[in-house]
Amino acid sequence: MQLTLEFGGGLELLCNSVKIHSVDVDHKVGEEKVQLTMKDLLAWVRKNLIKERPEMFMKGDSVRPGVLVLVNDCDWELSGQLDTILEEKDVVVFISTLHGG
């Protein structure tokens, strides 16, 4: 499944300062492709994209406090959070909230 993942608000520093990643993620149980949820994607991101300090990205099996997750420009709270089912060409944005000014 082709997805575009974007990191912002400083989270890009955890993946070699690259903000936009075009990725191909498939979720299989045995040989069979199954639906990919945000929970699966987070585990994939942690394994494949996060190069340092994973605790700055995740806490438990979700994102750490202060990270907004947007699926197709929409807060993942509105689509089921970890249970959100992803589809081909979805754009997922991870953004750390800023406090400075």
Binding site: G10, M56, L70, D73, D75, I95, L98, G100, G101
Partner: protein, 453 residues
Amino acid sequence: MAESEEERRIIREMESLNDSKRKIDDQIGLLQARLVQIRQNNHSTKTYGNELSSHDIYRYSRHLLLPSFAVQGQANLLNSSVLVVGAGGLGSPALLYLAACGVGRLGIVDHDVVELNNLHRQIIHNEAYIGRPKVESAAAACRSINSTIQVVEHKEALRATNALEIMSKYDVILDATDNAPSRYMISDCCVVLGKPLVSGAAVGLEGQLTVYNYNGGPCYRCLFPTPPPTTACQRCSDSGVLGVVPGIIGCLQALEAVKISAKVGDPLSERMLLLDAMSARIRIVKIRGRSQQCKACGDTSPLTRQQFEEFDYESFTQSPLSTTPLKLKLLPGDARISSKEFSKKIKDAEPHILVDVRPSHHYKIVSLPRSLNIPLPSLEDRLPEISSALKKEQECRGLDSGSGTGLYVVCRRGNDSQRAVEYLHKMGFSTAKDIIGGLESWAFDIDPNFPTY
């Protein structure tokens, strides 16, 4: 380099002239305010079919010509009040526009003074105000743009103990602060008082903007019920910020405040604007609505005034309300030396290696001579470089191996250097010491001409 007699004389003369100038400016300000008051009193009874005076009609004519804003929008604006918390990078442009466009009463809260390294982004302040309170500087700028509005100075830090009293006097609140505990506190206070909150933030090359607690929309805690770890809170003084980025977000904050005050348009509630300056992209995303379980605005047990006043925002977020830099104390006294002691070691030509653990772009700004730049994150991989530098120093000095070649570690303020020394001790470099207070203490105690940033 010491100042010459001539330089000192010029500085003294400038200070004295600036003093006189300030007094004259104050007098002019008072006279101007008085004049405006007299004129307003004279005209107050005379209107021309609506509540705007002749002066207002001319001054705000370009607003009145907008069909969707018009007389009613301007009249609403003139009757409204806005509080801007923070007269920094966000607050500067916001205040300039809010004063210019005729917000009836404009409050400014800040406890800081103007510094030279603020001026690249905090455009409301100028060189003449360096060392003086930001509130005074910002208020003077607002009054010089528009003497017909009321500008209120709150020269104090906003705390849970005074926030209710200050914020209750205004219709709309702008969060233009720079730290996490203030953001939770201001949002909670807006919930308790039922005020809309225009929240902006900017660090580095990115900015964020949204409107909280507006018309049934979410508050800050609905979005962020748990505070982030302190290590995730970047500050402009550490991470840097491109001046125009908070400028853009501050202008957008003014825009949202104007829309809410004038009762026009569609404020950015339940949506968030994300600005990425480097790639010139702005995205507006849909965010969640009000959470029923929210500890501040939820239905089950909404926050009371008393709970708010007693809430400890600093311990909740594990970070201070003011932005004084962190001062860690990780090492015992004998693993540290002061910059004075270190400068004596240089003077006495004692054999040593100095490792600077700042990021390389910091090292390029300024560094001590003969220092070796190994940024903290790469220390683990580059230990052999330290070993060989120590060895080389011993050979150059014709010393036996194992004799006392000092290993010193420096950073900007003396926090990362302690982390580095802790690690070096663990890896067998038992003589490593850090320089207390880092390069800032070097500039303060040893070389006043050494650049600080």
